[in-house]
Symmetry: C2
Subunit: 195 residues, 2 copies
């Protein structure tokens, strides 16, 4: 493992960290270079030696913050795969700083094309992850061939996003299971325990 880091890299990382922290706390618009300098302990001058503008700094900070996709599970059971998939994504992207940034990022993405691409790419990435799980189930015959995968993903992801962003509550594993079981019930996919 390459743990060597030049001074330049350490400084750069400190700035990125302070930026994500600030964006999570006060949002994109209220994030200032001066405050980033203060938080990171890096002089404002030096920040501008690394990043051309506040705009690209925020974009790079968010980019560096992109959540790690959990390993795709393939247990052979659609229900288990979906629960593990959404549970993992929830932990990776809703808990912690990324979750605190989401609303502000989505808002800023409406006006900033660069951020817009980034946010959309992250959302697509998450969707694709769930889509793969579902398509594997279709291939196995666990779901009918004509199922609308797009709507299905929306039905699954929607309640979780809503709980996090609108209700501002934690997305519990119980909720994930309830969502998955409710949606799959329509397709008569076996649940382990009948309620």
């Amino acid at each position: 493992m390459e743990t060597t880091s030049t001074r330049s890299e350490r400084v750069r990382q400190a700035v990125l960290d302070a930026t994500t922290d600030l964006v999570a706390e006060v949002g994109v618009e209220r994030t200032t270079i001066d405050e980033i300098a203060h938080r990171s302990g890096v002089a404002k001058t030096t920040i501008y030696r690394h990043f051309a503008s506040k705009q690209v700094l925020v974009v790079e900070a968010v980019h560096a913050c992109t959540f790690i996709i959990p390993a795709v599970t393939d247990s052979g059971s659609l229900r288990d795969d979906l629960i593990s998939c959404f549970s993992g994504m929830t932990k990776a992207s809703y808990d912690g700083r990324l979750g605190d940034m989401m609303l502000s990022l989505m808002d800023a993405a409406q006006r900033d094309p660069e951020l817009g691409r980034l946010v959309r790419a992250q959302a697509d990435q998450r969707r694709r992850y769930a889509t793969e799980v579902i398509e594997r189930a279709v291939a196995r015959g666990e779901l009918p061939d004509d199922v609308d995968v797009d709507v299905l993903v929306t039905l699954l992801a929607g309640p979780l996003v809503y709980t996090k962003l609108v209700r501002r509550q934690r997305v519990t594993d119980e909720l994930v299971a309830a969502v998955v079981d409710t949606v799959l019930a329509r397709y008569a996919v076996n649940r382990p325990v009948a309620s």
Copy 2:
């Protein structure tokens, strides 16, 4: 109907309208008093004669923009009531300016306590509307007594909110029907036509 309006009232309304327009376009943070003055044709001085600060102006503008709750339907069919309920709310709050404001408002509400109360009140209002429809169905025996109404509302509202705010797509009546039917299928509530 009281259509009389003093000059003062007309001016006030012009300012509120310009404010909501601007918030919908550029968000809360980038909305400036100077631009509101320019858009509304009302002098900045006069704006401050009506509203103490930009903060209270935005709050009042959003408040004046609060969506009208559609009349609660009671057809005797949970499915029809839910579809009419969510379809009506979608049109009332997602189409038009209010929909464009939502992300920015929710973001700003994280830091502004006044806006926070307002946004939360609106969200609660929407939830209560759907909750009533469901509780009536429970009373009729159309749903089991021990159903978790809170989770149920989340399952219904989530995919619609997600479609609007994250995917930035229109919430069609087809989607509303698909969501309602999928969620109700778990409770074996009759659908008119099997797919």
